[in-house]
């Protein structure tokens, strides 16, 4: 009996050993496998093209395409689009925006919508695997991708002629916003992708908020908010030491970054660093049009020391490296956070709109390094690159240009953001818009979940500055007013949107692969004290040079000069 059992165990052991070896083998083979996603995409694509050949000559020739009025096409046309889907959004095919556009234009869409964290990967794979869509909508095509996939590969088609012929609203946008056309025109003079223009400052400045309940507990009024680095430090110390959340424990996190990366944090990059007279940790352009690398400036050392002081005294979140938006939001809801970035305070802290009015936006800081002048930068550009592009697979580029042109009209740009009157919003007695509440859903959840992709995904549109103020939202009104008053007069652009020649773009990718990694790790190391700022500063500078940072600066300078010339 016992012997039999042993035998059984022994053979089980052999099977396991064989299995282990087999797994060893498959693991080796694993890296070489082509992703199943591509294969699926391939099949789908094949299906689609056969579908399309059933309705030949969709555009122009047979009179299906209308140059004016709606519908744009008389017989239904199917276009495949690819775009970034934010987690808050519902399935794109169920969104009212797309359904309405199909009804109006006669163009029906098929969607491929990878999520944010895999989007760049999926996009590259689609291009590589030849399964790319007819149109990129909300496709986040950066300038390098436009040059590579447009200028070099010919996958994205030039839009200039189409814009001239079929897109009066896009033309109007270029006229109303000088500099935009230079920023979306590739070095060969072609436009490969249309941008989103958001002319309202609150759309591209960084909204960093103070915890209003803490200010109240410490008797700090809005006028007393810190306006220089020393006062800022003092307030953070008070946040930490004086128990503003009133729970008796020293658990306050005065400054939270919501990012595992100091260089990626708007609070440090856009408000603290500029007060040291440096407009960016990496590449930036100074007032005289000279391109510089922030970390190579002498004051950058002082900046690092300032952050280290904040970190050592636990004024800066000591867990920033492992924190993410989920953990920070949880801490803010527990009233442990004093200062952080959020679209609106309600997203972070446990407050309603009325209470949120007490949560003021950060004031621009100054210091002796700026000669007492307050300076800040903004993390986003009013120009959002690459929101719409047409590929060479598209059978009806004219129709799609007319389709997208609607979104640059005032009506269209409102529509893509807010949807129909009576659904998400209605006119209040004041003539301003107001939200319609939907049970069990926050406003943004409803907007993204039911109405539009323009809730997390950068979509093609031209938002007029006055649009943001057209709401009967006291909080929004305050935010616009304080931003206009407190931020806008002092803000500077870090670096405009420019293009690089392909060889420069390649070289920049090579340099940045290691340089960005080095910067991210080293700056974090300096701040937490894994590296010594004074002792290792020279080594840091030498390594930056060794990584060809000077070559990088000169390439950016060339690109900036071209842009500046085109802008004149």
């Amino acid at each position: 009996m016992k012997k039999q059992q042993k035998k059984r165990i022994r053979s089980l052991g052999s099977i396991l050993l064989v299995l282990a070896m087999a797994f060893g083998l498959t693991a080796c083979g694993g890296g070489e496998k082509t992703s199943p996603v591509v294969e699926n995409g391939g099949e789908k694509e094949a299906g689609d093209t056969t579908g399309k050949t059933d309705e030949p000559g969709t555009a122009g020739a047979d009179g299906n395409f209308n140059e004016e009025g709606y519908p744009i096409v008389n017989e239904a046309v199917t276009v495949r689009i690819m775009g970034l889907k934010h987690p808050i959004q519902g399935e794109w095919k169920d969104l009212k925006f797309f359904q309405k556009m199909e009804e109006m234009t006669g163009i029906s869409l098929e969607f491929d919508t990878p999520a944010l964290d895999v989007f760049e990967e999926k996009k590259s794979l689609a291009i590589t695997g030849d399964t790319y869509p007819d149109v990129f909508f909300g496709g986040m095509l950066n300038t390098n991708q436009q040059v590579e996939w447009g200028m070099t590969e010919g996958i994205l088609i030039p839009l200039n002629d189409l814009i001239d012929k079929y897109a009066p609203n896009v033309q109007a946008m270029f006229e109303a916003n000088p500099g935009v056309k230079a920023s979306v025109t590739a070095p060969d003079g072609n436009i490969y992708a249309l941008p989103q223009i958001n002319a309202a400052p609150i759309a591209y400045t960084a909204p960093v908020w103070y915890n209003g309940s803490w200010l109240k507990a410490l008797n700090v009024t809005e006028d007393q908010l810190p306006k220089d680095l020393d006062a800022f430090y003092d307030l953070l110390v008070r946040f930490r030491k004086e128990d503003p959340n009133g729970n008796g424990a020293e658990d306050e996190i005065p400054l939270s970054l919501v990012s595992g990366d100091i260089l990626g944090s708007e609070t440090t990059e856009c408000f603290i660093l500029p007060a040291f007279g440096i407009n960016g940790s990496k590449i930036y352009v100074d007032d005289n049009g000279v391109v510089k690398y922030g970390a190579m400036e002498e004051n950058y050392k002082e900046y690092l020391k300032y952050l280290k002081k904040l970190y050592d005294e636990k004024l800066l979140d000591n867990d920033f490296a492992t924190a993410d938006s989920v953990s920070v939001t949880a801490q803010a809801k527990d009233n442990q956070v004093g200062l952080t970035i959020a679209a609106i305070p309600q997203n972070m802290w446990d407050v309603d709109t009325e209470q949120a009015k007490e949560y003021p936006i950060i004031r621009v800081l100054s210091s002796e390094y700026t000669g007492g002048k307050p300076v800040c930068t903004y993390p986003n550009s009013p120009i959002q690159q690459g929101t719409f592009a047409i590929t060479d697979k598209c059978q009806c580029p004219e129709a799609m240009m007319r389709w997208v042109d609607y979104l640059y009209s005032e009506e269209g740009s409102l529509y893509i953001h807010y949807g129909d009157e009576g659904d998400f919003w209605e006119f209040a007695d004041s003539g301003l818009r107001k939200h319609i509440e939907h049970e069990g859903m926050a406003n943004e959840e409803y907007r993204g979940g039911k109405i539009t992709p323009d809730c997390g995904t950068p979509c093609p549109k031209w938002v007029r500055p006055e649009t943001e103020g057209s709401w009967e939202d006291p909080f929004q009104a305050i935010r616009i007013a304080t931003t206009d008053e407190q931020i806008v007069p002092y803000m500077k652009e870090v670096f405009p949107q420019t293009y690089f020649s392909e060889s420069d773009a390649d070289r920049i990718t090579v340099i940045k692969t290691d340089l960005d990694k080095y910067m991210k790790e080293t700056v974090a190391g300096f701040v937490v004290g894994n590296l010594d700022i004074d002792a290792q500063w020279d080594e840091f500078q030498a390594t930056l040079k060794q990584m060809n940072v000077e070559e990088l600066i000169s390439m950016y300078q060339t690109s900036y000069d071209n842009w500046a010339a085109a802008n004149k």
């Binding site: 165990i9 022994r10 052999s14 282990a20 082509t34 867990d319 492992t322 937490v528």
Partner: protein, 334 residues
């Protein structure tokens, strides 16, 4: 089952299958047979039919995609495709060798993987020997279940748990340390601790599972040997040393060779999920670097070159270790 495969009528199947273990010279008698290869195959075709799915699998999924390796030597352009892209020779390898991170990547990869091979090799053997000595059947099975269980937690969940437990201020371990009057330890933010966190959390997860094979091998030892040893007055440790370990040796060596084959192939997911900007100095390994450069930044040729370099080194190490093992202990993979 091992003994059975060895006396199988068709020795050539062992060569094809590749990974069957042979023990010294015992096998050679079976090879000496008359007739050509074709006749030998024909005479036991049924066995070859069983081999087909495996062969097809490897041809399709392992050998097939290898033609793509050539983009390591080309300047891969999406539009021109793999065959149409320009040849650039060793440019991408050159760039990798000249990279600031080259030595750091190699060092980190070797450090983490040698460390985990050693720990992951010794602990399961110790656990197996321990379990084997247990007399109480119930306790034994509970112990085994408890040690296996962590293996079934998925890597993503496991890393999420680690990040929460090891958090600097709120994490379980640091709460305990601070509670006992110590200073919080930056398990995931101090670069010098990353390899320990990685390896010992791996040991917690994998030791039980890794010991199964050894426990099975120990169960196969003839009871008579123990009885004889007891009569001769051998102590428990002497019995382990002179009976158990020699019996485990072939299994140990096979598993060691296999793990050495992936010396530069540290598991990508776990490192990636535990990585942050502060520990990157010791946690960046070749596979995470390939992911970032290749898939995230779309530098396919460069990433392929790095990956190819990695595979070639692994291959060479596997052959070397195998040859050494063959010479020293008469046990090898082929």
């Amino acid at each position: 089952m091992f003994c059975q495969t060895e006396v199988v009528q068709c020795p050539s199947s062992q060569q094809k299958g590749g990974f069957f273990m042979k023990r010294g010279k015992k096998r050679t008698y079976a090879v000496r047979r008359k007739g050509g290869l074709g006749r030998r195959i024909l005479s036991c075709w049924q066995l070859y039919v069983f081999l087909i799915p495996t062969l097809v699998y490897f041809v399709i999924f392992s050998y097939g995609p290898m033609y793509g390796v050539q983009i390591a030597f080309r300047d891969f352009s999406v539009r021109k495709g793999i065959w149409g892209s320009r040849w650039v020779g060793l440019e991408h390898f050159q760039r990798f060798f000249d990279s600031y991170y080259f030595s750091q990547l190699i060092k980190n990869t070797l450090h983490i993987s040698i460390y985990s091979i050693i720990v992951g090799f010794i602990l399961p053997i110790l656990l197996a020997l321990l379990v084997n000595e247990l007399r109480n059947g119930k306790f034994k099975s509970i112990l085994q279940t408890v040690t296996y269980a962590p293996y079934f937690i998925s890597t993503v969940v496991f890393c999420g748990m680690l990040t929460i437990f090891l958090n600097n201020t709120n994490g379980l371990f640091n709460q305990i340390i601070v509670g006992l009057g110590g200073k919080p330890v930056g398990f995931l933010t101090d670069p010098s601790l990353f390899s320990h966190v990685f390896v010992w959390s791996g040991a917690w997860q994998g030791t039980g599972w890794g010991s199964i094979i050894y426990i099975a091998a120990l169960a196969g030892i003839d009871e008579q040997l123990y009885e004889a040893a007891k009569i001769d007055g051998a102590t428990r440790l002497q019995r382990i040393w002179h009976i158990n370990l020699p019996h485990l040796l072939p299994t140990m060596i096979t598993l060691l060779i296999l793990s050495c084959g992936s010396l530069l192939g540290v598991g990508y997911e776990k490192v990636f999920l535990l990585q942050n900007s502060l520990n990157a100095a010791t946690s960046e390994v070749i596979s995470t670097y390939v992911y970032k450069a290749g898939l995230v930044q779309a530098q396919y040729s460069f990433a392929t070159a790095v990956g190819l370099f990695n595979s070639v080194i692994n291959f060479v190490i596997l052959i070397l270790v195998n040859a050494v093992a063959k010479r020293i202990s008469d046990t090898s993979l082929w």
